[in-house]
Symmetry: none
Subunit: 227 residues, 2 copies
């Protein structure tokens, strides 16, 4: 059950961008490019958050915001406003009318996700990160636990991060260097070969599911459900 985010934004380019970033981070997105379309999404199952462009056709953002806050159910859905840079009054007016936060266009993915997470954590601490599943293998970022057929797997933090990265980026080869950058972080000087060792530890932890982590000779490693 991924969190669902309703994106209310009339400009298709920005809407696409928001959807892309959100989906890459594991959210489901609903899209609306006008007032009525936004209303059409406001029924069960309700979105978990609304990303609302301040200015959009068929009713400005504040109009929809006010409408939401009048409804007993809808008012509980957190709203993050999208404002143009420098429009300070917009932000103030938005926050005064019940918006939970705002993001200024243009935005970096990092900033966007950070704000969304903060807001969602504040409103509903449990709905945040989703469990990743691949067959019997599950990875739950919340409890920070990986299980196989509901049996907890024993692995270190690095292996957990590695598995998390793999599960969010399956069916794709990654060189040792890329894995170091993505899992260990950039500006970390660690031997390439160290990756091998952690791969082995991860495979060990996965026991009879170690085939999910595949060696691609001369290229790196790949997480794949196919043999």
């Amino acid at each position: 059950m991924a969190s669902r985010i309703l994106v209310v934004e009339d400009e298709v380019a920005i809407r696409d961008m928001l959807s892309f970033v959100l989906e890459q981070h594991g959210y489901e997105t609903l899209e609306a490019d006008n007032y009525q379309a936004a209303l059409d999404h406001l029924h069960e199952p309700y979105p978990d958050l609304i990303l609302l462009d301040w200015m959009f056709p068929g009713g400005s953002g504040i109009q929809l915001l006010k409408f939401l806050k009048q409804d007993e159910i809808l008012r509980q859905i957190p709203v993050v406003m999208l404002t143009a840079r420098g429009e300070e009054e917009d932000k103030v007016r938005g926050l005064e009318n019940g918006a939970d936060d705002y993001v200024t266009k243009p935005f970096s993915p990092k900033e966007l996700m950070a704000r969304l997470k903060t807001v969602m954590r504040r409103v509903n601490p449990t709905s945040l990160d989703d469990t990743l599943k691949v067959g019997k293998l599950k990875l739950d970022p919340i409890s920070h636990r990986a299980t196989l057929s509901d049996t907890p797997l024993d692995m270190g933090p690095t292996e957990f991060k590695l598995l998390h990265f793999f599960m969010t980026h399956p069916e794709r080869v990654y060189s040792r260097e890329q894995l170091l950058n993505n899992v260990w972080g950039t500006n970390v000087y660690v031997e390439d070969r160290t990756v091998d060792v952690h791969i082995r530890r991860l495979r060990k932890a996965l026991s009879d599911h170690d085939h999910l982590v595949q060696t691609v000779r001369g290229a790196g490693y790949r997480f794949s459900t196919r043999s």
Copy 2:
């Protein structure tokens, strides 16, 4: 292995966004937020493409563009301009000065990737990451896997590269020497006859599709769907 894209853009939010989208699509990114930083990236290994903001500090986009086009090597790197919406003259001026295409801010990830791919296809068709298909035979550079009717084929790195080259250059004879240059790389001293052996290994891997790799007596080999 992955294409490298130099992003020249001063606004951090937009730069982050570009990097995020590009990296999600498997590109490596280099970042520069000013003229000098951009120049610092222009050495080997050269970026495969430059994404250039029209207006950025320490020299406008066109300035850098002109500089690039004066250099024999650098001029070959394709350039995609980032322009503000509505600035039609900018686009025209950019294209006149050698830019290969432009993307208007704000942009959707889909549009961005489409334009980049188009440009890269025009310049260097082999550097692309698209799945290659010939009948039931598929080669996916992203997962680094060759399949026949979705069954993974077992072959070594050299055979994989060889097949990749063939699939991107079908219906054309290549001498052993040409194959060595293209697949093994230049400055590699290897016997001509070695190619025969790898051809055989590739055919073996292709099993009942080995007819795709054809011998052209006295000339070399050819990858062809026609018998």
